[in-house]
């Protein structure tokens, strides 16, 4: 299977990300799916779609579980298997992976995978508590450790070990906010300065408000099929040529290292080997910047730079749009927003646009090979997918 298309993405959709007041998660999901159906007019949804996997992290936000069937209902796709996948912030990365399994198994020719989360109607304290549920209860939550707190523990360790600075972390935020200004669907579409980021109030030291991703409402989806069927459904398809997923200890404290995510490294290694792709072959990447330090660690885990040099890579600007390795052209979780269950397939949506030349003002020129990196919790789940243009 090495280097060969595993499955093809024939369409993709994304709701507006942001504070979608008055809309339920299922309604945002329907928005995303409508875009995907409209982009692929030769697809007849009720005839063709044979299964759904939907990433959704928490029942607490809307007091709504059972999101597989709920979303299937709201997009008029009853009578097919529709299953929720849950892996914290990697819930829809896991949905994507499940969709790849389903198509490769031969049980379903066309599979709709997506994700959704509705968060902004809750207070920051409530969201902080619900997100923390993805960490270890008896040893992390019980002692008052929050999600920003877990990444702050990694940030302190990274700064201590490698000399990474708060300014380098802030550069990630400045870049991703810049990219967000080019994405009309991003939650925030405004530039920020390094000074503003560094002066923002502390959340969990050394992380400040501008080091943290946004509490956002949103939904996303992509439609998968067998590579041999792709051209029947659309003239704009992208192949998935590598997939990797791995797990690590639920508690951050049990890991050998606090400056790298082993699950992400393993997932990347698996996906790259399958795709026969090296880090330097990647033209555009969407990585899981739930916190700025997470993007710096992702650079290292994905082999975009040497271990310990992620901060320098953030500082030197090479991951900006227009440079040789644009990362998070969508604005990332930082500016596009992070409706947790929707993030994995929202990353796939961006890569689909980039590799089909439809990313408009944020288009990476001649992008042929893309990567998505989606992390659940403090790294107990990670999924990596590698994509190749089919133009």
């Amino acid at each position: 299977m090495k280097g060969k298309p595993l499955v093809s993405i024939v369409s993709a959709g994304l709701s507006k990300f942001g504070k979608n007041e008055g809309f339920h998660g299922r309604e945002l999901f329907a928005q995303a799916v409508k875009e995907a159906f409209d982009r692929c007019p030769r697809l007849e949804p009720k005839r063709d779609v044979k299964a759904m996997f939907v990433g959704h992290m928490g029942e607490s936000y809307e007091h709504q579980g059972h999101m597989g069937a709920t979303t299937a209902d709201w997009i008029g796709l009853l009578n097919i298997p529709a299953t929720r996948t849950e892996a914290a912030c990697a819930s829809s990365g896991a949905a994507l992976r499940s969709g790849v399994y389903a198509v490769l198994s031969g049980l379903a020719d066309v599979v709709l995978v997506g994700g959704v989360e509705k968060m902004t109607h809750r207070t920051t304290a409530e969201v902080t508590e619900y997100l923390a549920m993805a960490s270890d209860y008896p040893f992390e939550q019980w002692h008052g450790i929050t999600f920003p707190g877990l990444y702050a523990l990694m940030a302190t360790a990274h700064m201590h070990k490698y000399g990474t600075t708060e300014a380098q972390m802030a550069q990630v935020a400045v870049k991703n906010h810049h990219h967000g200004t080019l994405n009309p669907k991003a939650h925030l579409q405004k530039e920020i300065t390094l000074e503003k980021a560094l002066a923002s109030r502390p959340v969990a030291t050394p992380l400040k408000v501008f080091d943290c991703s946004l509490i956002t409402d949103g939904a996303s989806c992509v439609i998968l099929t067998k590579p041999e069927l792709a051209s029947k459904l659309t003239d704009h398809s992208v192949h998935i040529i590598g997939t990797g997923q791995a797990s690590d200890t639920i508690g951050l404290y049990e890991r050998e290292t606090l400056t790298s995510l082993k699950a992400a490294k393993t997932a990347a290694k698996t996906a790259c080997a399958m795709a026969q792709v090296k880090p330097e072959d990647i033209d555009v990447a969407e990585v899981h910047d739930c916190f700025t330090i997470a993007e710096i660690i992702a650079y290292e885990d994905l082999g975009f730079c040497k271990v310990g040099e992620g901060g320098k890579l953030a500082e030197n600007g090479e991951t900006r749009l227009g440079e040789h390795l644009p990362v998070n052209t969508s604005g990332g979780l930082k500016a596009k927003g992070h409706p947790v269950g929707a993030t994995g397939t929202a990353q796939a949506y961006e890569i689909y646009l980039q590799l089909t030349g439809q990313a408009e003002q944020r288009q990476v020129k001649n992008a042929k090979t893309g990567l998505t990196h989606n992390v659940g919790g403090s790294g107990a789940t990670a999924t990596v997918h590698i994509y190749r243009s089919n133009q």
Partner: protein, 135 residues
């Protein structure tokens, strides 16, 4: 080292020991791996035979943070410091750091374990807590 082999190797039992002012870990009889928290199944060799060992009380701070934005039940004490401590036997544990000004907390500092009784009215589960403080 004390062996109390009749107690189950569970998180619940770990916190019962905490309520007694003891930081205890499980040690696999077969492969020797120390489990903190204890586990009823060794994740390394799948043995189910353990002994309880008393953890060293002193360790070094590996990393830390001061949490300003807290969940509802911790808002009264925010900002508060959290750290991961590595004990002399190599095992790590996270928890609150108290009795030290936040500005004086440093990676590498020596800390010791202390205990509080359960002071929380939250619904299930609720346990006594351990914490870390300067020597």
């Amino acid at each position: 080292m004390i062996a109390q082999t009749t107690e189950p190797f569970t998180i619940e039992q770990f916190y019962k020991f905490i309520a007694q002012g003891k930081l205890m870990a499980g040690k696999c009889q077969k492969c020797g791996k120390i489990h903190l928290p204890p586990r009823p199944l060794c994740d390394k060799c799948y043995s189910q035979v353990f002994t309880w060992i008393l953890m060293p009380s002193k360790g070094k701070l590996v990393t830390y943070t001061v949490i300003h934005v807290a969940p509802q039940q911790f808002q009264d004490i925010a900002p508060y410091a959290i750290g991961i401590v590595q004990f002399e036997n190599g095992v790590k544990l996270p928890g609150r750091i108290i009795d030290v000004p936040h500005a004086q907390i440093q990676v590498g500092m020596n800390l010791t374990v202390g205990f509080t009784t359960c002071d929380n009215t939250q619904p299930w589960p609720q346990w006594s807590r351990y914490y870390f403080k300067p020597l």
